[in-house]
Structure formats: structure tokens, C-alpha cells
């Protein structure tokens, strides 16, 4: 596909289930993967809850879609930035997050973590480098 390549960042700031944004953003991300753009996801503020491990939605009667994040690696989406300050503000640590990995084709298919916990300042710089930032 002869097309411009742009850097796309999907900014997730909302917790899952209270609103539809987390689910429907993920649907955009999966479709976007087909366009061979440079895609990353940022989880800041309550968005960090979207990839919290151990989501049990039986009691609220809603579909648990968190497993879909684990499939992102298969779609070549391997950069999931989680903001350290957002975790700390909510009393969370990296241990509270789902393990999400990808297989690095350039390194003998070694399994590597997709989640990178970085500082607000580091994320601000990465955001500034994006061609397109989408918020939902």
C-alpha cells in the first residue's frame, strides 16, 4: 500500500465500563492496525484501569474485553505507554497491570513486554512527536 506513514497515538484517559470509550477506542486501534501506520497507545489518568489485571465483569453484566489488549502484539501494535504518575495517584503499581507482550520478529521472535511505564515528562515528549493524537 503506497501511503504516507504517520505516527498515531491513541490517548486513553477513562476507566473501562463506566463509558463506552475504552471499548470503542480499542476497536479503532484494531482497524487502524491494517493501515501500517506507526501506532502507540497512551494510558493516563483513569485510562490505566483499562489494562488492570483481573477484570471480573460478571457482576455488572458487561462483556470483559480486556483480553483484546493482549492481541495487540499480533497486530504489530507494541507500544503501550502507561504513565507512572497516573498509577501512583491511584495507588497502583506496574504489578496491577495485565502482562501484555509481543513477539519481536527482529530478535528471533523473543517475547517482549509491550507495556512501558514512563514518566509524565517522558510521555509529554512522545505526545509532542505524534502526527495524529486521537482521544475518545
Amino acid at each position: 500500500m503506497d501511503m504516507t506513514t504517520k505516527t498515531f497515538m491513541y490517548v486513553n484517559r477513562k476507566a473501562p465500563y463506566g463509558t463506552v470509550y475504552a471499548l470503542e477506542t480499542l476497536e479503532v486501534v484494531l482497524i487502524a492496525a491494517a493501515f501500517e501506520q506507526d501506532v502507540s497507545l497512551a494510558f493516563i489518568d483513569d485510562g490505566v484501569y483499562q489494562i488492570a489485571k483481573g477484570q471480573d465483569t460478571k457482576g455488572i453484566g458487561m462483556k470483559n474485553f480486556s483480553a483484546t489488549f493482549k492481541a495487540l502484539g499480533d497486530y504489530d501494535i507494541t507500544k503501550l505507554y502507561v504513565e507512572r504518575e497516573s498509577l501512583a495517584e491511584r495507588g497502583l503499581t506496574e504489578d496491577d497491570l495485565m502482562p501484555i507482550t509481543y513477539e519481536d520478529a527482529d530478535d528471533d521472535w523473543a517475547e517482549k513486554p509491550s507495556v512501558q511505564v514512563i514518566s509524565r515528562a517522558e510521555l509529554a515528549v512522545i505526545m509532542s512527536e505524534q502526527d495524529v493524537t486521537l482521544s475518545f
Binding site: 504516507t4 504517520k6 498515531f8 470503542e24 476497536e27 479503532v28 482497524i31 493501515f35 486521537l134 475518545f136
Partner: protein, 130 residues
């Protein structure tokens, strides 16, 4: 400048649709191009032709249809979000065995790829939401 506009909220519930319309009119007045307007989440409801607000208030869906007609703007409603919320064109209603369709003139239903393509092809992508 070539713009892609993303409208994430439905008419009246949030100001997003109104702000988007005002922005687009101002952009057109300045000679900019609106490549596409993409409606996602509850934004798909901007495309319902069954809206009947009070006579002394604006009819948002009609404002979109007129924009499409007068300026040839591509108004695209996301099919996945539309299905969830019951926004149907005639073909989709038939496919789903539903007894009615409700899409307004000037809108077309398509996939999320249209949003990504818009963002790739445009100089600026502006998001209006909640």
C-alpha cells in the same frame, strides 16, 4: 489546510456537534477543505432523520445534511457504532432483517478505516467529544 473532523457525541446531549458545525463553517469561510467528517460513538446519532426538536431551536441533523449538500462534504457514520445504537440505512436494515431505517440524507455508513484514511490524508485531524 485539509481537515478531518471526528465527532464523538450525539446531537443536543453534548456541545460537540454544535462546536464541530461552527468550526467547519468558519474553516470553509476561510477557504480550507473539509476532507471528511467521521461520526463515532453516540456521534452516529447526528445522522438520524427522525429528530424533531422544538420549532424555535436548531435542527442539528438538518444542518449536517445541508452542509453535505452545499459543500459536498463527506459525512461518514461508523457502521459498528451505528449498529450498536440502531442507526440504519436501507441496505443495512434489510441485511439485519429490521423493519425500518433512519439515516438522514447526506450521510453514508462505512467502516472505521475511513477515519484512519482521513487522518492520513488530511493536514489536521480535530476531535470533538466529551
Amino acid at each position: 489546510m485539509k481537515y478531518t473532523i471526528l465527532v464523538n457525541e450525539g446531537p443536543y446531549q453534548h456541545q460537540a456537534a454544535d462546536t464541530a458545525l461552527q468550526f467547519i463553517r468558519a474553516a470553509l469561510a476561510k477557504g480550507h477543505e473539509i476532507f471528511r467528517v467521521f461520526f463515532y460513538h453516540d456521534g452516529v446519532n447526528n445522522g438520524s432523520r427522525l429528530s424533531v426538536p422544538p420549532k424555535d431551536d436548531r435542527l442539528i441533523q438538518k444542518a449536517w445534511s445541508e452542509l453535505a449538500e452545499q459543500h459536498g462534504i463527506d459525512l461518514v457514520i461508523c457502521i459498528a457504532a451505528a449498529q450498536r445504537r440502531g442507526l440504519m440505512d436501507a441496505d443495512e436494515a434489510k441485511r439485519q432483517n429490521l423493519d425500518a431505517n433512519n439515516i438522514a440524507p447526506g450521510f453514508r455508513i462505512s467502516g472505521l478505516g475511513q477515519l484512519i484514511e482521513g487522518a492520513i490524508q488530511s493536514d489536521r485531524t480535530i476531535v470533538f467529544g466529551d
